[in-house]
Structures are given as structure tokens and as C-alpha cells.
Symmetry: C2
């Protein structure tokens, strides 16, 4: 068996590190050909040495300069150009995109355009450019393999099934840390409180998205593009234990669910090895120890981001991209401590409403829209400054 060549964008984050653990466990299946990070140059060089990787992208130019001094034969690309050059490499069999935020969108488009299959953790790719990505894939035939635990669950439940026999997708969400917090205290939510997630260990941006439940809203949009179903056929159920990762209901009333311990290595490995379940030694689920699974409807008064996401998806065109950029920038300002938690949805609603709507945005349109909304959110009056 020849080893498949894989590149990992965002290799020093939580998904990237788990992907390397999965690849190590798989043994000879993959050759890691390229890694990328923003500025954690020492970590990425260590990863490169451990996996015999000859090329590394470090997008932060200063970090790239420092890395070159210690590179010991590893080729260092830098900047956004370096990242896009890496994404365009046609000798790669599979690109794992674990970048965070809108920055991940263009590499996904570039790789798919080059005919390279993509294992996608960067949900913003599909949220912002779902329509464009569908068109690219039709042209090149490149595959897209979801890594999000929810979409991996749905994908697994659809194995051997016909899309036209699906009645609806049911995305589960933990409800985050504020599921039961009194609503009138939401404006006082601190960054520290919002960063405490009960079930998953993720990066800061995604953890805040989980606290606002925008994460789930983005996943509805992502599911729409991955599984080609209209918003009315995509539901959300709050499931605080995060054991059932998502479900599919069929037209005969039968429901299939995928479950397991909250461990991203399982969906990562499935995306890498699809359609195989390859043996893995990770911790196994013992339902008798978990003992209780609960389910609640989602409360869109508490989590207005969900409603905003459905509205943006229904409006289509550039609306989901505007939603995503506005959310991302608002979250960064919240993390910096100069916005209230409750301002995040207000800003998003305003940006989606006010932005110059485009029916079929191309990459240039999306880049411009990103720049413009980023600027506007940065200028939004803060409440703590």
C-alpha cells in the first residue's frame, strides 16, 4: 500500500494535534508532507521533526523569520501566499484544514480547485463560500470530508442510505456553559466564564461560539451545504452530555444516531480513513457509566445567534458570509475584553442586515466583504472601553 500524502493546515491547534495523534496511531497509512501554523513556530518545527515533514508554513512573518534560523533543513514558507501555495499543491492526496475562522476559507477553495480532497474542520469555509465550493467540487470532483463531530455523525449515519429518504438532520449541541444561567445576567458574562466549556477542549474562538451557540448556527449552514438539505430539514436539539453527536431521521420514522466519548480523534480518523472504521485504542464509551442522556428544545431567546444563522441561510447569497465575519470579529473583541457578551448577536444582526447583499459572491466579493465587515465591527463602539 502506498502512503497517502497529507498536509495539515493549523497543525498546532487542538484539531491539528489530535490529527497527528491519529496519524501516528494509524502507522503507515499517511506521510505528513506539510504543516502550517500562525505563529507557534517552535511547536510546528517540533512536529515537523517528529513526523519527518520537509515543508512548514508559518503565516506570521516574524515567527517565520525566527523559525528559519532553527529550521535544520525544513523548508519554511511564510505569509498568506505561503499558505495558498501550500493549499495549491497537487501532489497532496488529502489536505486537512484545521484553520480557525474566515482565514480557512480560501485554502479550502484553492485545494478543491486543484482537485485535492479536503478533510474540513474549518466550518467557516462552507458557511462563507458554500455555494462557491459546491460549484468548484462539481468542476473538479474533489471530495470534502467533514471533521466536525456533528457532521461526522450525520455522515456516518448516512452510510448506505439514500439522501432522498432523509426526513431531517438533528444536530445536537451541549447548550454551552450558559444553558441555565439567568438570562438577565447575560450582559455581565465575563471572558473567563465564557471560556469554560463543560465537555470539549477547543480553541478560544470556538469556545465562545459554543457559549453563544453560534457554533450550532454555523453548523446548520455547514450541514446545509454538506448534505444538500434545506434549513427546514435541519433541526437542533440541546443535549448537554455531548454523547450523541448528531442524528438523522428517515421518512419511515427511523432515527440513526452516532455516539461516543467527546474525543475529536474519532471524527478526525473517520475523515482520514473514510469509508473505513480503522482500529483505534482511544477511550471507549460505557453508556452505563454515563447513565443519563437528556434532551431539550433550543431556546432562541437565550441564544439569538441560532435564529440569526437560520435567517442568514434562508436569505442566502452573501448573508451567511456576513454573519460569519461579523461573529468572528465580535468574538475577538469580546475576547479582548472590550465588548459585552450580549453585544455579539446585536452586532451580527446589524452587519447581516446592513451589508451590501450579493446573490452569488465569488472569492473577490468574499474578500472585500470580509475586509469591510471586519473594519466596521472593529469600529463598533465598545461597552467596556
Amino acid at each position: 500500500m502506498t502512503r497517502r500524502k497529507i498536509s495539515i493546515l493549523g497543525s498546532t491547534g487542538s484539531i491539528g494535534e489530535n490529527a497527528l495523534r491519529v496519524i501516528r496511531n494509524l502507522g503507515d497509512d499517511f506521510q505528513v508532507a506539510l504543516l502550517s501554523c500562525r505563529n507557534r513556530w517552535e511547536s510546528v518545527l517540533q512536529q515537523a521533526r517528529n513526523f519527518g515533514v520537509d515543508t512548514v508554513v508559518i503565516t506570521d512573518p516574524g515567527a517565520a523569520r525566527r523559525a528559519r534560523q532553527e529550521a535544520q533543513g525544513v523548508r519554511i514558507l511564510s505569509g498568506r501566499e505561503g499558505l495558498l501555495e501550500a493549499a495549491a499543491r497537487t501532489d497532496i492526496d488529502l489536505m486537512l484544514n484545521a484553520l480557525v475562522g474566515a482565514a480557512g476559507m480560501e485554502p479550502t477553495c484553492v485545494a478543491l480547485s486543484a482537485g485535492v480532497d479536503v478533510a474540513l474542520s474549518n466550518k467557516e469555509s462552507l458557511v462563507m463560500a458554500g455555494d462557491l465550493i459546491s460549484r468548484i467540487r462539481q468542476q473538479t470532483g474533489a471530495h470534502l470530508y467533514p471533521i466536525d463531530s456533528e457532521h461526522s455523525a450525520i455522515w456516518q449515519c448516512l452510510a448506505g442510505e439514500k439522501p432522498e429518504e432523509v426526513r431531517r438532520l438533528i444536530l445536537t449541541g451541549s447548550g454551552g456553559p450558559f444553558r441555565t444561567r439567568p438570562l438577565d445576567t447575560f450582559s455581565r458574562i465575563s471572558v473567563e466564564e465564557a471560556l469554560r466549556h463543560p465537555n470539549w477542549d477547543m480553541g478560544a474562538k470556538i469556545t465562545i461560539d459554543s457559549a453563544t451557540m453560534m457554533n450550532k448556527g454555523l453548523e446548520v449552514i455547514e450541514a446545509h451545504w454538506l448534505f444538500q438539505l434545506p434549513p427546514e430539514q435541519i433541526d437542533i436539539v440541546v443535549h448537554p452530555q455531548s454523547i450523541i453527536h448528531s442524528m438523522v431521521e428517515f421518512v419511515d420514522g427511523s432515527i440513526k444516531a452516532q455516539l461516543g466519548v467527546p474525543d475529536m480523534k474519532i471524527p478526525i480518523q473517520y475523515a482520514l480513513m473514510y469509508p473505513r472504521h480503522a482500529p483505534a485504542p482511544w477511550e471507549r464509551l460505557d453508556l452505563t457509566r454515563v447513565a443519563t442522556l437528556t434532551f431539550e428544545p433550543v431556546d432562541t431567546e437565550r441564544f439569538p445567534s441560532i435564529r440569526l444563522a437560520y435567517q442568514a441561510l434562508a436569505r442566502g447569497g452573501s448573508a451567511p458570509a456576513a454573519l460569519n465575519v461579523a461573529n468572528e470579529q465580535a468574538v475577538y473583541r469580546f475576547l479582548q475584553g472590550d465588548l459585552m457578551f450580549t453585544q455579539i448577536p446585536d452586532i451580527i444582526a446589524n452587519m447581516v442586515e446592513q451589508h451590501p447583499w450579493i446573490p452569488h459572491p465569488d472569492l473577490d466579493d468574499l474578500r472585500q466583504l470580509e475586509a469591510e465587515i471586519t473594519r466596521q465591527v472593529q469600529e463598533w463602539p465598545g461597552q467596556k472601553s
Copy 2:
């Protein structure tokens, strides 16, 4: 599309009636060619008129005689010979076997031998003659489609998956009405108490099997033959709400589950329409209304039948058949009020232990074994007489 010809053995029971509801809902997919019952001749004649069925088997000779007087052109077969004649009909595309107990075994073997596909609700067929049925199917290529909700769940979870990637099957069981009853009161369990099942509406024999959890033990044996996995790879988890119907764990730690309202029409329809999920208007599951699913280990001190079933499966040969016949006859005596609830497992253990064990029983062996164990259980000293 030509209508597929179906015969339904045991059409006046709960599964048979639900099967007719499913067929009615499907419209033109099936032509009901034959029905059978033991003695409810008025019901079966009514069903025959409703579905334009020309042949009916009534195994009780007295009931068959009375039915002939009102048959109005419907051909009436009677006795065990009539049933086996019906099972041997090669013009039938699918035989649904909803007979209860050991009596269902031979028709399954006869139909499969004739190359007729069987939708199997009669779990005793595989419990008693699993080895023989495997050999018959290899010869004729006839298919076996499970109807038990647990096995249907596993079957659905295996769609599109490779058997060698399965780590284990996880059968769920409600735990029945005595899951939390003080163990020292088990000898005083009345027939009425044992007939009250919290989740499913079934016949009396199966309801008692659910109360002893022998039902789950028989299902382990059935699963072994259906999915070709050793007993060590078949587990049981108690799940009182009966919403998750069963699960499959794969070697990568991913688990798939099938769930739904406790409605046998769903697995019946899946067996009839496999591999399709056909549209159906039955009640749908709303997990936010169910709200809580719980899971516990199975307690084999409380439910010794489970242990007996695993032991019989491990011993193989005629042991599972002996277990099944002993259980069936002990349950009938319990239902008649002349055995204590706790005598059921005692009798089973004794019969499995004492019967003349045969490594590869054929139909004649199984018939003899059935007659002999039936006689012995009937002679077992009762505790209430």
C-alpha cells in the same frame, strides 16, 4: 412495478396486525397471498376479506372446520400440515413469520429451503435452529430479514458498514417490570404483575420473557446467528425507556444507534422494504419530549435467564434449543398459574443441563428434543397446585 406476494404466518397477533397496517399504508407494493392463525378464525377471515386473500391456514382443526362454513370462497388449510404446505409455496416472494414460540421454527426452515425470503419475527427459529438455518441459506441463497426491533436496529446501523469493522453489538432492553422490584419478593410475582409491560404491547408469552429478561437472552442468540459474531462481542445494556433500540460499536470507538418511538411498524416496514426507508405517517419521536434516556448494566443475579442464555450459546449444539423449549413450556405453566416466577429459570437450567446434548441437531432431532423437554416440563412439580 409488480406487486410482491407476501404470506403472513400468525397474522392475528400483534406483529401480524401491525404488518397488515404497514402493507395497507404502502399501497401497491404487496399482494397478501396467505394468512395464518391458530384459532382466531373470525379475525383471520375478516383480514382475508379486507386484503383480498384467497388462502388462509387455521392450525386448530376445530376452528378450521367452523371457518370453512363462513369462508365465502376463501380456501382454508388446517393443521400443522397446512402451515408447512403454506411455508413451502415457491410462488411467495416473502414470508413474514410472526408465529410465537418453537412452532415457528419449522416453517422458517421450510420456506428458506424452498428459496423463499423470510421476514422473521419468530426469534425461536434462530435460537433453536440457527446452525441449520445458516446451512440452508448457504444452499438456497434465501434472505432472512429481522423484525425484532433490536435486530432491526443493528441491521440498520450496519447499512454501508463492513462486518469486520464491528467491535461489538449492544442490545438494549427495558429491564421489564421487575427491574427495581425487591429481589426477595420475586417468588411472589403474580401473572398479572408479570403481564404489565411498561413500553411495548406484545403477546403474553413474549411479555413474560420480557419480565424474566429471557427475551434479551434469546435475542443474544438470535443476534449471534444473524450477524455472525461470537457471544463475547454481543453485550446487553438496560435502557428502561426503550427509545434506543440497539447499537453497534465499531473498532474506532464510534457507536451507531437506531432509535424511535416503540412502534413495531417501523422495523416491520424496514424488513418488508429493505434496503429502503419508505415514507410512513406513524407517530414520530420527539427527543425533547422524552427528555431523558438512562442506561444501567444488566443484573444477572436478578435475571438469571440472561446468564443461562449466554451459557447455552457458548455450549452450542442443541443447548439453545433446549433452553428455548424449556423456557417456553415453563412460561406457559407460569401463565396458567401453576408455577412460581422464580421456577422458570430453575427449570431451564435443569433442562439444558440434563438433556441429551447433540452437536449438530437436524429438524428431526429438534422435533424430538422439543417433544421430550415439553413432556418433562409439564411433569415438573408445580408450586401452587
